[in-house]
């Protein structure tokens, strides 16, 4: 599947009097990993929702995702409580591929997030972190051109989070999907490589775009402090 080109041109998004975005432009090359990094409430989720087509901009234009498949890991867990772990991961796959392939594919990603022993359980029987891992497995398993992740790993313990990110990096080197993810965690921001876009307060502005590879290890904290002045 062709990777997806994402582009926001002079986009504004107002909620009543509140201008979250005002003449904001962003271009993300297809097949790259981009982290939107910024303080809570600055409007990172709004960018993802605009890219996903879940929000209509007040002004400007958005290009790139029309009629293409995207995966989205929402900040809050959006899984079907009446379906088991396996059925939740299969939910978007059914009809896309033969049942046997869908099962094998779903199980591969359930194993990746460490839920293989829980595949027959309902979400209500699992912890919050486990439920979030179902969303992660579903998004990764879905054959999409792009993956959007909104603070997808915040409920996971550190070791598990980096294991999943490491596995995802391996998959990504093969399928090269466009990845846009939102976080306020410095360590997470650089974990997948690619580029980090530092965002400032509302109306949202790009403070700096930094390729992860250009900053020496151990210098990220200094860079973040320099950009945000603390």
């Amino acid at each position: 599947m062709e990777p997806l080109n994402l582009k926001l041109s002079h986009v504004s998004k107002h909620f009543g009097d509140r201008k979250v975005l005002d003449d904001f432009s962003l271009d993300i090359r297809p097949g790259t990993v981009t982290c939107l990094f910024g303080p809570s409430g600055c409007g990172k989720t709004t960018i993802l929702n605009l890219l996903a087509g879940l929000m209509v901009p007040t002004g400007g234009s958005i290009n790139g995702f029309q009629n293409q498949r995207i995966s989205y890991i929402f900040q809050e867990v959006r899984i079907l409580p009446w379906k088991t772990v396996l059925a939740n991961v299969l939910f978007p796959l059914n009809g896309l591929m033969p049942q046997e392939d869908a099962l094998r594919h779903a199980r591969e990603f359930i194993r990746m997030v460490g839920l293989e022993k829980e595949e027959c359980r309902f979400p209500g029987q699992l912890s919050g972190g486990m439920r979030q891992r179902i969303s992660i497995a579903r998004a990764f398993a879905y054959p999409s051109s792009a993956i959007l992740m909104d603070e997808a790993f915040q409920n996971l313990d550190r070791k598990l989070k980096f294991n999943i990110l490491e596995s995802f990096k391996n998959i990504w080197t093969k399928d090269r999907r466009t990845v846009v993810f939102v976080t306020h965690d410095e360590e997470e921001a650089i974990s997948l490589g690619g580029e980090v876009i530092f965002l400032g307060h509302q109306p949202l502005e790009i403070l700096k775009r930094v390729p992860v590879g250009e900053v020496p290890e151990g210098k990220w904290k200094n860079l973040v402090a320099e950009i945000y002045g603390q």
């Binding site: 996903a52 929402f74 809050e76 079907l80 409580p81 009446w82 379906k83 939910f91 978007p92 059914n94």
Partner: protein, 251 residues
Amino acid sequence: MKDFFTRNRTISIAVIGLLLVIWELVSRITGARQILPGPADSITALIHLFGEPGFLSSLTSTIIRGLLGFILAFGCALVIGILSGLNPVVEAAFRPIIVLFRSVPVISIILLALIWFKVEQVPVFIGFLTMFPLLSTNLTQGIRQTDPKLVEMARIYHVKEWRILREVYIPSILPYLFSGISSALGFGWRAVIIGEVLSQPRYGIGSMMQEAQSFLLVAEVIAWTLIAVIIGYFFEGINRMFESKIVRWNR
């Protein structure tokens, strides 16, 4: 927790026992056992009923009428309730009808139904009109309460609309559906029996109650009432059994 339920059950049984004692006492004190028979007389009348000709026919006729009314109400509610929940225009079109069904006194409907329908059909019609608005309103409510974020998620993943209906909306309305069935049956049995009392079909619990009442056989009226209560409990039990089997994820 187990102790809590055991204690509550003991309290319920004690209250029922106390009511039975009061009933027996009042019956003895007044001395008018024909007007107010005691619990023992009523149970004896109940046992006698089992052997009477026409008992089984009356019992099955009432159950069949109730179930027919329920099936008709359920079928209509499924279509109208779900469409009303999904589309405000459909809801606006059907709201006045639902409100009308709920507001018109049952007795008015029965009097009109007696003119319009055959005696056998009147209780079914009354049952239908009582159960339909309860089921329909619950289904509409269930669709409205479906988490829009789950629907949004399904659309993001390009899941087809008919699958969203089947796999997102329908499961999310199930708890509302079972609660609607519970109240519909609760009111429905009573309505069917009232319909039978007034329309007097050949067989039916209501017809038997009316007959017993006209001969001042109070113990028999109470015995038929107990049978009606048992039918209600039985179908409520079936509803709960289905609910616990189908809505497994809530446990």
